[in-house]
């Protein structure tokens, strides 16, 4: 082995190690527990879906879904009549990822809005609760009318110390988007099915 070979081997080995390490990093990123079902399908779509509440008031929700395995998921649904906005983001990482619910903890001052979001860290299992009482849970299925939706995320703010959201609960299907919103104890807004 000549005097150049050894340093070259070290250099090559170092490069290999650093790139492998990078590959391992990306392989290690994941979304933990049943919450991983929300990012299993590669999908990007936007749509407008009809909803009706138990008072008979109809509304249309504009929805946008972006989901790429294993990177992340970002879903928004905004009412046309009701100024209700559901925004959920999942970001994977090496410890199970984070699920953030936006539009609740919005700190408003005259100059700008700052949305901290409700953060569920290190996702695992099928139910998680924050220290201030917000809960997320993965349901195997949810029935709306005669239709059954699989892999549904339930967000529940009813046990929160101080519910800062416009709603009590919402339900999102991993592939179909917003299914239901409960608010003010008595109002249920459900997706209208054909």
């Amino acid at each position: 082995m000549n005097k150049f070979t050894k340093p070259l081997l070290f250099l090559f080995g170092g490069l290999l190690f650093s790139s492998c390490n990078h590959i391992l990093d990306s392989i290690d990123d994941y979304v933990g527990g049943d919450f991983g079902k929300l990012v299993q399908k590669e999908q990007e779509w936007s749509d407008s879906a009809k909803f009706v509440d138990n008072l008979g008031i109809e509304d249309a929700f504009k929805e946008r879904m972006y989901s790429h395995k294993p990177e992340n998921m970002d879903f928004t649904a905004t009412g046309t009549i009701n100024e209700i906005s559901v925004h959920v983001r999942i970001e994977c990482n090496g410890t199970g990822g984070n699920l953030v619910v936006f539009n609740c903890k919005t700190v408003e001052n005259p100059q700008h809005m700052n949305d901290e979001g409700i953060v569920f860290s290190n996702l695992s299992g099928n139910k998680m609760t924050t220290s201030d009482g917000y809960t997320i849970r993965m349901l195997d299925s949810l029935n709306i009318g005669k239709e059954t939706f699989q892999n549904v995320l339930e967000f529940d703010a009813t046990k929160a110390e101080k519910n800062e959201c416009d709603y009590d609960k919402f339900y999102i299907s991993a592939t179909q988007g917003l299914l239901r919103i409960d608010l003010m104890d008595t109002i249920t807004i459900k997706r209208s099915l054909p």
Partner: protein
Amino acid sequence: MINKAKFIPVLFTAAFFSSLTGCYCEDCGESCSNVYDFESKLADCQKTIGHYKKGKTIHYEHSNGYDLDFTVSKDTIYHKRESEYCANFDTEVREIELTSTYPIISIKVSFNGGYEFEDEDGSTDFVSSLNITYDATSYVVDLNSDGTPIEFSYKDNLETLDTITFNGVKYDSVFVIYDLLYASSTDHADNRNQPRLYFSKEKGILKIESRLGQSLTIKENGKDE
């Protein structure tokens, strides 16, 4: 008091040099030989128009047929500070928010403090502004010193009605403000097909229409609001 004849050339000169250098005063303050400070105050009428007091309830009928109670959920005054064209602006702003419990709908009303201008003939003008936003639609209008809307010099955006009746109640001296902020048409008939806001100094918003086809119309029951 701002001398309009002196102030406008300063603004244009600053804007011209800014466009040449590609930066504004806040980016390269040292290039401004003089930085002008302007402070605007709310006119007294901007504190009373519509008699919006926090907690007050106003009834409206939605274009979809149901009635809604809107409550004045916010009424705050603050100072907005901005810098541009070698000038600092300190604007007093009053923000009001009307919200209905369910369906969750809001109307945002914002008064910007005004400036007193000295015209070349020595007379003074006071111009402030009003901005009302509902359902992704914003109505913007300038106001004079007693809160009367002023027509934009370049747009056909304002009408005055002696009376109009909504849900059985007659309202006097009503301003109709058209949503022409982004309209390019100069055709009067076209402009009159745009969404509009009916507004009185006494009662505030009487009817407001949105670009998305919804509207709210005041519905007074003869009770003292």
